[in-house]
Symmetry: C2
Subunit: 235 residues, 2 copies
DNA sequence: ACCTGAACACCGTTCAAGT
DNA sequence: ACCTGAACACCGTTCAAGT
């Protein structure tokens, strides 16, 4: 009787369950803590049991990426291409922010996963429906690069490898050492301006969302201009 | 006599020599082949000998990044900001292309290395000298993102993890399986256009250099427009 | 046939023993 | 004091032995 309740000790393993547990592990402990052994332990399984559901670790990560990408909402209908693209990218951004390890995982992959291909294909479709030539749509997709998926390459990005374990607070980049302002005067000046409501040299950090939208709109407006001018690559 | 030539069997280890050997190893065999043990073997040294010159592997990679970044030429003098920025970024791009592992290594770092900070500081200086407000220069640097360093986030990038060992040829993305065109019709159409001198569905791949400059110029022209308009963030 | 423990070939790094 | 071999605590994955 006690045994009866203990016998189905695990809902049976499935690829779905493996991938979801892996995503949860990476979200909570950071991508560095994601090992086949740790994942197996989280699932109460022996490590080799995972290999019936994923071929190897690379395939595991590819599956994890697809789980996340599938969270992105479909494009808005009944609106112009610019609005549809903008909103969808911001939606993708919100998804990726919930899973800080994904952007690096995507970049590390040698081949895009099916879900990413589907997302990109749908994005191209939005441009095409908006009247873009195949030629322009092609170059525009390249120009957007990873921004299409809602992340940009911030060179000061701190929290991408870390898990949510320790101090969760997005603490400002600590105090800038006095040395810093001497060696990198232009960066220091920028940091001070970024923290304009603070008179000290200690920056509050930048408003990532503002910066992302600034660059996105700069691109979208340039793209709109090319589109209106009927731009075409010389060929 | 034979011994005489053999006794100084190794020029003494130095941080410099360790870093250069590490860069060479990553260039030739790929970043995945860079281990403390492999590196030590290349240098004819016992693994623990490396730890007198680098604190740990993370510090080793940081040093390798700085070796590469220092290869980038200083900005052109006697020219306008737009030309100076454009040429320097294209110069950075040429450097990073010689070391395909660097972009991912930079992104994986949690903290920018001194050489990167110096490069970015100098880039900000070019904008400032060109008459940009601190405010605009700040947002512009964010908007450029990793493009400042000459790489963009191409989602189809193949050769970043690979070494130069095997087939070096930048082979076109193989044949697109027939399935592909069905599942991702918009992407398939783009791929066909990209290989416009080829009637088959097998793409020649894209002209990375063209795409990079297309996006770079799109950004630079948008930035120029903001600058001329005296753009300022609402605050 | 399926499952899984042990083993293999690696890691980065610590530490104590040797000189 | 310096150097270094062995060891530790991990990896991903193979493989053969057990059921």
């Amino acid at each position: 009787m006690a045994e009866q309740t203990e016998v189905p000790r695990r809902t049976p393993l499935s690829r779905e369950r493996v991938l979801r547990a892996a995503v949860a592990l990476a979200d909570e402990a950071g991508i560095d803590s994601l090992s086949m052994r740790n994942l197996a332990q989280d699932l109460g399984v022996v490590p080799m049991a995972l290999y019936k559901h994923v071929a190897n670790k690379d395939e595991l990560v590819a599956g994890m990426i697809d789980v996340v990408i599938d969270e992105i909402a479909p494009p808005l209908a009944d609106t112009d291409w610019k609005h549809a693209v903008r909103e969808r990218i911001l939606s993708a951004r919100r998804v990726l922010q919930r899973h800080p390890w994904v952007s690096l995982a995507i970049e590390s992959q040698q081949t895009p996963t099916p879900a990413i291909l589907a997302y990109l294909d749908s994005m191209v479709g939005t441009f095409r429906t908006g009247g873009f030539s195949v030629d322009l749509a092609h170059h525009v997709m390249h120009a957007m690069g990873s921004r299409t998926l809602g992340f940009s390459q911030e060179l000061f990005d701190t929290a991408r490898n870390a898990g949510r374990t320790g101090v969760t607070s997005p603490e400002p980049p600590a105090a800038l050492p006095a040395q810093f302002a001497d060696r990198f005067p232009n960066l220091a000046k920028i940091a001070v301006v970024a923290s304009h409501d603070d008179t000290s040299v200690v920056g509050r950090g930048c408003d990532d969302q503002f910066e992302f939208e600034f660059a996105l709109d700069l691109l979208l407006e340039g793209i709109e201009r090319l589109h209106q001018q009927g731009w075409t690559s010389a060929r």
